[in-house]
C-alpha cells in the first residue's frame, strides 16, 4: 500500500455524513412490480428499443440496442413482460423514454446472456474484452455514465495508455456505495481491474481509496495480497473534497495535471470507478450485462439509511419504502440524485434508478437547501482558496452576473468542474455553481449562434462567388463569340479571292442591306411610338435627378 505522493490544489474538508455506515451489508432491494428502464442512461445518443409490448423477456435479455458506437445497450433488469414504452422525467427537465417492464417475480436470468464466459484475461484478445464490455452496456458507475468501451477504444487507439486508475475515492459526503463495493466485492474489483488491464494493454493499475476509509482499505488490501498481481497497487489519498474528481485524483496520484482541453489519455491514463470494474468482471466471467447497481439511500429524512443493490429501472419510491419510509412529515421532501455537493434535484418519486444513479439523498427542504436569500459578495476570497481548478470563482460570478460571458470565458470558466466547493464556503451563500452553469449555457448558445452565422456567411459568400463566376463565364463566352465574328469578318475582307469567304461576305452584306431596308420600312405610327418612348425615358431619368 502506498500513500499519495502529491496533492491537488484547493479543496476542503467536509463532514463525513455517511449516515448509513459501512457496517451493514448491502442487500438486494425488493423487486418492484414495474420497472421503468430508461433508454438513455448514459452519455451519447439513446439506445433503440428492440422488443415489442407483450413480449416476455428474461433478466439479461437485450431490450434496446446501442444506436451508435458512442451509445450503449440496455438489458432487461428482471424477467417479465414488456408492457409499453413510456416517457418519464429523469431529472430537471429531462424526460426520457423508458421501457415499462412488468416483472413476473420469478427473476429468471438468461444463462450466458452475452455469450461464452471467459476466465483468463491474458488469454483473451483485447478486442474481445472491449466488445463484451460494450455488449454488457457498461458505463462509468461513478455518476458520469460515460460508455466504458468507448473510453477503452480511445485508449487502444493511442499506444501510450499505460496506467489505469480505479477510483474508490468517494467524492461526496453521504455517498457510500463505492465504499460498500470495496468492502464486499474487493476480489471482483481486482479481477475487473485485470480485465481492464488486458483490454487496454496498460501495465499498471492503481486503486485509490480515501485514507479515512480504513475498512475498505483493509478489504481491498487483503484481496490484493491474494491476487498477488504485481501490476496492481493500492494508493491511499487524503480525504479532502473533491478528491474523487477525476482531475484531482490524477493530480494526487501522479502530480500531473490533465491539460485544460485534453483528456487523461493525453497523460497515458484512464480512470474507472471501482464499481465499473465489478461490472466488467461480471460481464466477462459470468456473461451478465449491467442490470443492477449499488445505490446509497440516505439523508436525514430517511428512516433507515443504507446501501441497496438495485435493479435498474426501480422507481425511487420503492427504495424510500424499503428504507423504512420518511421520518419527516414534510409532504414534499427534497429528493436529490447524487450527493450534497453536486446532486441534482429530482422532480418526484417516480424517477427510476439508472446506471449513473449512485445516491438518493432525501431531506426536509430546511435541512438540505440553504437559505434562499444570498447576500452581496464581500470578495472575501474564501472561494479562491478552495477552488481545486485554481479559478477565481468570485470574478467568474461577477462576470456571469453582469452577463459578461466572454470575460468569464477568458478566466477559464470552462475549467470549472462544478464541484461546488466555492459555493459551500461562500459566507454570502451565493449559489455560485448555478451562475457558472448559466454562463456556460449562454456561452454554448453563443457558440452555436456564431457557427450558424458563420455558415450563413459562408453560404452567402459561396453564392456570390457562383454568381460572379457565372457572370464571368457568360462574359467570356460573349467575348469569344464577338472575337470569332470579328475574325470571320476580317478573314472575309482579307481574302476576297477565297470563294467561300467571298460568298460569306456577300451573304453578310446582303443581310445588312436587308436590315437597313427593314428599318426604313417601319410604318410611321411605329416610328412615332418609338420616339414617344424615347422621350418618356429621357423625362423619367431627368426627374430622377
Amino acid at each position: 500500500m502506498l500513500n499519495a505522493q502529491h496533492d491537488f490544489r484547493g479543496g476542503l474538508a467536509l463532514a463525513g455524513n455517511k449516515l448509513y455506515g459501512e457496517q451493514a451489508a448491502t442487500c438486494a432491494a425488493p423487486l418492484p412490480r414495474h420497472l421503468w428502464i430508461p433508454l438513455h442512461q448514459h452519455q451519447g445518443p439513446p439506445a433503440v428499443p428492440c422488443v415489442q409490448p407483450g413480449q416476455h423477456v428474461l433478466r439479461g435479455d437485450l431490450i434496446a440496442k446501442a444506436s451508435t458506437s458512442a451509445s450503449v445497450a440496455v438489458h432487461a433488469s428482471s424477467s417479465g413482460w414488456v408492457r409499453a414504452i413510456e416517457s418519464r422525467d429523469l431529472d430537471q427537465g429531462r424526460s426520457v423514454d423508458c421501457i415499462l417492464l412488468e416483472t413476473d417475480q420469478q427473476d429468471q436470468a438468461r444463462d450466458e446472456a452475452l455469450g461464452p464466459c471467459y476466465t483468463d484475461p491474458d488469454a483473451t484478445a483485447a478486442e474481445t474484452i472491449i466488445e463484451r464490455i460494450a455488449a454488457a452496456g457498461i458505463v462509468g458507475l461513478g455518476g458520469a455514465s460515460f460508455p466504458s468501451a468507448t473510453k477503452l477504444r480511445a485508449g487502444v487507439d493511442r499506444p501510450t495508455l499505460e496506467h489505469i486508475i480505479l477510483n474508490g475515492a468517494e467524492c461526496e459526503p453521504y455517498i457510500s456505495c463505492d465504499g460498500a463495493s470495496m468492502l464486499e466485492d474487493a476480489a471482483a474489483i481486482i479481477r475487473g481491474g485485470q480485465w481492464l488491464l488486458a483490454a487496454s494493454g496498460a501495465q499498471r493499475l492503481s486503486i485509490a481509496i480515501e485514507d479515512h476509509h480504513q475498512a475498505a482499505i483493509d478489504s481491498v488490501n487483503q484481496a490484493l495480497k491474494r491476487s498477488a498481481d504485481a501490476r496492481i497497487q493500492l494508493v491511499q489519498v487524503p480525504s479532502r473534497y473533491p478528491q474523487g474528481g477525476e482531475r484531482q485524483l490524477i493530480q494526487s496520484l501522479t502530480g500531473l495535471e490533465v491539460p485544460l482541453d485534453g483528456l487523461p489519455l493525453d497523460l497515458g491514463l484512464a480512470m474507472f470507478n471501482v464499481a465499473t470494474a465489478v461490472a466488467v468482471k461480471q460481464a466477462l466471467e459470468e456473461s451478465q450485462p449491467l442490470t443492477e447497481r449499488i445505490v446509497t439511500v440516505t439523508g436525514t429524512a430517511i428512516a433507515q439509511p443504507r446501501n441497496w443493490r438495485v435493479r435498474l429501472g426501480t422507481p425511487i419510491s420503492e427504495l424510500i419504502a424499503a428504507s423504512g419510509g420518511l421520518t419527516h412529515p414534510d409532504p414534499a421532501p427534497r429528493l436529490l440524485m447524487g450527493g450534497a455537493m453536486m446532486g441534482v434535484v429530482l422532480p418526484d418519486k417516480d424517477v427510476p434508478v439508472s446506471k449513473g444513479f449512485n445516491c438518493l439523498l432525501v431531506g426536509p427542504p430546511s435541512d438540505i437547501q440553504p437559505a434562499a436569500a444570498s447576500r452581496a459578495c464581500i470578495r472575501c476570497g474564501d472561494c479562491v482558496e478552495v477552488c481545486p481548478a485554481g479559478l477565481l470563482p468570485q470574478q467568474l460570478y461577477w462576470h456571469s452576473q453582469a452577463r459578461e460571458f466572454q470575460a468569464a470565458a477568458k478566466l477559464h470558466l470552462d475549467a470549472c468542474i462544478e464541484c461546488g466547493a466555492c459555493a459551500v464556503v461562500c459566507p454570502s451563500e451565493i449559489p455560485l455553481v448555478q451562475y457558472y452553469r448559466y454562463a456556460k449555457a449562454e456561452l454554448a448558445n453563443a457558440a452555436v449562434e456564431r457557427r450558424k452565422a458563420e455558415h450563413a456567411k459562408a453560404r452567402y459568400a459561396a453564392r456570390e462567388k457562383r454568381l460572379q463566376r457565372e457572370h464571368a463565364e457568360r462574359e467570356a463566352a460573349r467575348q469569344r463569340k464577338q472575337a470569332a465574328l470579328l475574325q470571320a469578318e476580317q478573314t472575309a475582307a482579307a481574302k476576297p479571292a477565297d470563294a467561300t469567304s467571298a460568298a460569306v461576305a456577300a451573304a453578310l452584306a446582303k443581310a445588312r442591306a436587308q436590315q437597313a431596308k427593314a428599318k426604313q420600312a417601319l410604318p410611321p405610327a411605329v416610328k412615332a411610338a418609338q420616339e414617344r418612348a424615347r422621350r418618356q425615358r429621357e423625362h423619367n431619368s431627368g426627374s430622377d435627378n
Binding site: 490544489r9 467536509l14 430537471q92 459526503p173 482531475r247 493530480q251 495535471e257 490533465v258 491539460p259 485544460l260 482541453d261 485534453g262 427534497r334 436529490l336 447524487g338 450534497a340 455537493m341 453536486m342 446532486g343 441534482v344 434535484v345 439523498l361 431531506g363 438540505i368 437547501q369 440553504p370 437559505a371 434562499a372 436569500a373 447576500r375 452581496a376 459578495c377 464581500i378 470578495r379 472575501c380 476570497g381 479562491v384 482558496e385 481545486p388 481548478a389 485554481g390 479559478l391 477565481l392 470574478q395 478566466l411 477559464h412 475549467a415 462544478e418 461546488g420 459555493a423 459551500v424 464556503v425 461562500c426 459566507p427 454570502s428 451563500e429 449559489p431 455553481v433 448555478q434 452553469r437
Partner: protein
C-alpha cells in the same frame, strides 16, 4: 429557486464573520481602555451610532430592506474599527460625523456592501483627519490624565479645557518631531519611557491569531503588511540608525499591527487573488513606512490602505492564478 448544489449550509455566513472580527477586537479594546482611559468606549459608541444611522438612512432613501443589510453587521464593524482609530478625546460630534461619513460616503455611495472600492472606516478617518487635523491630536498625555477627564465631556455636555496641558503626542508623533528637531532615534526613544504600546500590539495580535486559526482571515495580507513595514525599516536602520526608527518601533507603534490584521484584511476593498494579496499587503506596509519616514502625517496607514485600494483592479488583473491544466508560464 436554487437549482444547483451544494445543498449544505456554509459553515459561516457574513454576519457571523463580521461578529467574529468584532469579538477578536476585544482584547485590544480592553488594553486600550486601560492605557488611554474610557474615552475610546465613547468613541466606539458614537462611531457605531453614526455608521448604523447613516447606513439605515441611505438604505431607506434607496428603498432597500433595512434588516438584512444592517443585520450583516458590516456597518457595525466599520463603526467599531473607526472608533478604535480615533483619539479618545475627540469631541463627540466629530466621532459621530466620522461614523456616518464612513458608511454614507465610504460604502453606500458606491452601492452598498461589496461595491465599495475603499475601506469605509478609512474613508471616515481620512475625511476627519483632513478636515479637522487639530482634533486628531487629542490623545491623553499619560494613563493618569487619561482617566481624569470629566464624564460630562465624553457625554458631549462639557468643553475640553487647557488642551495642551492634557494631551500628549503619540509615540509616532514624538518620533517624527524629534527627528525633525535633529534628535537621534535613541534620544527620542529614551523620552518614550512610559511606552506601553507593545501591550496593545500584543492584544491586537492575539485577536488576529484567533481569527486566523478559525479561518476567518488568511495570513497573506497581514504578513505581507508587516513585511512591507519591517523590510524597508530594517534596510534604513542599517543605513542610518540615528535617523530612521527601528523595524521594531514601526511594528509596535501606530496602526501597524491593528491595521495589518483588521483594516488591510477588509475583503471588499482588498485584492482577491492569492498573489495579489501579497502585493497588496506589502504595498500598504511599504507606503506606511514611506509616509511615516518622509511624509507629513505621523501615521500613514490610512492613506496607504486607500492608495492600495485604488490599485486593486490593476493588481487583480495581473495576478490571475494559473488554472488547473493550463500550461505553466515560463
Amino acid at each position: 429557486m436554487r437549482i444547483a448544489g451544494p445543498w449544505i449550509r456554509p459553515r459561516r455566513r457574513v454576519p457571523q464573520v463580521m461578529l467574529a472580527v468584532i469579538l477578536a477586537l476585544l482584547p485590544g479594546v480592553l488594553v486600550s481602555v486601560a492605557l488611554q482611559g474610557p474615552g475610546i468606549l465613547f468613541q466606539l459608541v458614537y462611531c457605531c451610532i453614526g455608521a448604523l444611522g447613516a447606513e439605515a438612512g441611505i438604505l431607506r432613501l434607496r428603498g432597500r430592506d433595512l434588516s438584512s443589510q444592517l443585520g450583516d453587521y458590516s456597518a457595525l464593524l466599520t463603526g467599531v474599527l473607526l472608533g478604535l482609530c480615533l483619539p479618545p478625546w475627540l469631541p463627540w460630534w466629530q466621532a459621530l460625523l466620522a461614523g456616518s461619513l464612513a458608511t454614507a460616503v465610504g460604502k453606500q455611495l458606491f452601492g452598498g456592501l461589496g461595491q465599495n472600492p475603499f475601506n469605509p472606516a478609512m474613508v471616515g478617518y481620512v475625511m476627519v483627519l483632513v478636515s479637522l487635523p487639530a482634533s486628531l491630536a487629542l490623545w491623553p498625555a499619560d494613563t493618569t490624565t487619561a482617566w481624569n477627564l470629566p464624564w460630562a465631556y465624553w457625554l458631549g455636555l462639557g468643553e475640553l479645557h487647557e488642551v495642551d496641558a492634557w494631551t500628549g503626542a503619540t509615540p509616532l508623533d514624538a518620533m517624527r518631531n524629534g527627528l525633525r528637531a535633529q534628535l537621534t532615534v535613541t534620544e527620542v526613544t529614551a523620552d518614550l519611557s512610559t511606552d506601553f504600546a507593545w501591550l496593545l500590539a500584543v492584544a491586537w495580535g492575539l485577536g488576529g491569531v484567533w481569527l486566523w486559526r478559525r479561518g476567518l482571515i488568511q495570513w497573506r495580507i497581514p504578513i505581507a503588511v508587516l513585511a512591507g513595514v519591517a523590510l524597508p525599516a530594517l534596510i534604513a536602520q542599517a543605513v542610518d540608525a540615528d535617523r530612521f526608527a527601528s523595524a521594531g518601533f514601526h511594528l509596535l507603534h501606530g496602526a501597524t499591527i491593528f491595521g495589518a490584521i483588521f483594516i488591510a484584511t477588509d475583503p471588499v476593498s482588498a485584492s482577491t487573488t492569492p498573489r495579489g494579496r501579497l502585493i497588496y499587503g506589502f504595498g500598504i506596509g511599504l507606503l506606511t513606512w514611506v509616509i511615516r519616514s518622509f511624509g507629513d502625517y505621523p501615521d500613514g496607514f490610512a492613506f496607504a490602505v486607500m492608495l492600495l485600494n485604488m490599485l486593486v483592479p490593476v493588481i487583480d488583473a495581473h495576478t490571475v492564478p494559473r488554472v488547473y491544466g493550463q500550461e505553466h508560464r515560463s
